[in-house]
């Protein structure tokens, strides 16, 4: 049974009483919340994910209303994992993005069985295309376009999970976070896309989430072999440009983008050298033209 099959009243009562347990990518989440808007967006964004019957959940998280006098006139929401609150309270209207950031935090801070890199990752023909980049580099827009129209499979739009034992990239498909202008861009580029209601005035500006393609969710247990590492850079109106960069240079930039490089130490060093050794390393500047960007990325994984 998937989230979309559950009547919304049942969804509410589960989340309120003993927690709503569902698959969020490769992790089982038990969510406690009494905020209906969170569940509404959740059902929309995680529609194809399974409900879980098993009594064990990887992360038991809460999204609660803030307490205190201030909250009477400025309602707030708080994310917590077993008492730990990684973020300051946010306005109640930001509760769903807050949950998404919280789930990213669960993965980036607690999953040291992986080398966790701040990068989007998609797969085609069995090859992973890793897209590291700072916020604003367009990695989310690019992964939305690649998976929505280019026939790629979404592994993650935010956190690339490398298994140091096999060198493979593990999938953890969750909603793609779109910001500001890219929300409209994707809405017009992918008319079939399902987006969550936009939330304004967050620290990242206006945020909306995009539901991952159903095929990506169904294939979330399949790993991918590294194919290419591409550092995207969005420059409005710029000419498309794909250029080769050094592997040593790529290694250093990937190490900078890894959340737990210093925690894994030598294990991370070895995993990353193997990854870079197997990958094409490119820098990619693109303007508004997503079709040619897709063609360009396709050329990297064609046999």
């Amino acid at each position: 049974m998937t989230l979309v099959d559950l009547p919304s009243s049942e969804l509410l009562s589960r989340a309120r009483e003993y927690g709503l347990v569902f698959q969020a990518g490769r992790f089982n989440i038990r969510l406690h919340t009494r905020i209906p808007a969170v569940l509404k967006s959740l059902q929309l964004m995680y529609a194809d994910q399974n409900l879980v019957d098993e009594p064990f959940a990887d992360f038991t998280v809460r999204v609660t209303r803030g307490s205190g006098i201030r909250c009477c006139y400025h309602p707030q929401s708080v994310f917590s994992l077993n008492g730990a609150r990684p973020f300051a309270p946010l306005p109640l209207a930001h509760a769903f993005p807050l949950l998404e950031w919280g789930l990213n935090w669960c993965v980036s801070q607690h999953c040291h069985q992986y080398l966790v890199i701040h990068a989007a990752v998609v797969e085609k023909h069995g090859r992973a295309l890793i897209l590291p980049g700072l916020p604003g580099s367009g990695k989310s827009t690019l992964s939305a376009a690649l998976t929505g129209r280019g026939g790629w499979r979404l592994l993650s739009d935010e956190l690339t999970l490398i298994d140091p034992k096999t060198g493979c990239v593990h999938a953890n498909p969750r909603p793609i976070s779109l910001k500001n202008a890219s929300i409209e861009r994707i809405r017009s580029y992918l008319p079939q896309a399902v987006l969550s209601p936009p939330v304004h005035d967050t620290v990242k500006g206006t945020v909306a989430h995009l539901r991952p393609p159903r095929e990506s969710v169904l294939a979330q247990t399949n790993d991918a072999i590294p194919g290419a590492i591409v550092f995207p850079r969005f420059e409005k109106g710029a000419k498309l440009q794909l250029s080769e960069i050094g592997q040593g240079d790529t290694f250093m930039r990937m190490a900078d983008n890894a959340f737990n490089y210093s925690i894994l130490g030598a294990v991370a060093f070895r995993a990353l050298t193997t990854l870079v050794e197997k990958s094409l390393c490119r820098e990619f500047v693109y303007g508004g033209d997503l079709d040619s960007a897709l063609e360009c990325m396709e050329s990297l994984v064609q046999q």
């Binding site: 098993e54 064990f56 994992l81 008492g83 730990a84 607690h110 040291h112 210093s262």
Partner: protein, 372 residues
Amino acid sequence: MKGRAAPAQFVLRDALLNPRMVPTLDLAQWDRLIQQARSTGLLGRLAALLREQDLLEQVPAQVRWHLDSAYTLYRAHSEDILLEVEHITSALRVANIRPVLLKGAAYLAADDRARMGRLFSDVDIFVPREQLNVAEEFLGWQGWQLEPLSGYDERYYRQWMHELPPMVHRTRGIALDVHHSLLPLTSRIHFDHSAFRDRITASRLPGVDTLAAEDRILHSAAHLLLEGEFDHAFRDLSDLHLLIEQHTASEPGFWNTLTDRAGQLGLARVLYYALRYLDRIFFLEVPEESQHEMERSAPGPVTRRMMDGLFQRALVPEGMGGGTIDTSLAKSLLYLRSHYLKMPLPLLVRHLGHKAFVTPLEYRAEQEQHKA
């Protein structure tokens, strides 16, 4: 896990006491165990204990990675702290100061079992008061900076507390607390501070000392029961349990050493409470002789009943069967008590008044500045 859970649900305590029980757990119990361990900061310890007894193989696969991951984090953290201690000792060696490690870093340096799976947010060192200014200066040259504090907070630390305001290294970001006295300076309990210094012992790390084992225990108990901070109380109680268990088992006569020393330092009442709650929560077996010795330091029955209510609530994490009064109320009362013990009354009133009225204003001003 809401409200007054039965003590039978305190699976974390059971697993810490007897790791061999974990193969019998079903998935629902594992779920509770991992959650309790996460919320108390003891997931790494649980992993280390299971690993020590080769029990990880018997953990179900979907649970196993949580333990492995916590263990990886703990190992990396220990390495980072050891390296940081190396940096601190070399910065102070130039000034001819030999620091004494306290708390978590001391467990590491002394190779205590309490180091197992332990994460801590800062390194605590003791430097004699007369060397404090030099220490601060030399640490400053090597990149440690005082965290910016309000004028009041800074005075509070320097005058009334037993440490410098926290220092943070500019590039490595690990906090360092430099103590110049082992317990609060103005205090209703009269400790013999200097006596702590006669049993300082060399650690296994070069250039750095720790307190003697019995003093590490008393210092840890004093901080747990007098500091007024109970956010990590259960974890600290577990440290204390491991310390006492280890040293009483490995050194004949250690119980006497411990109780005698507590009397000598003026910490007999503190040890009394510590052993009382270790018995109630971890079923620690205290030999009859030491128990009698400790009874002499017991408070009156009314005080004791009140303290039992407060401490058992504050020491056991919420929802794990601590007692009948509200956790946050117990914590607030113990916070007040800790300040009552620390300061003369007029000073206490001034401090709490400042905390209640001035700090929120400053905080708001700061927030607004931040927004602008």
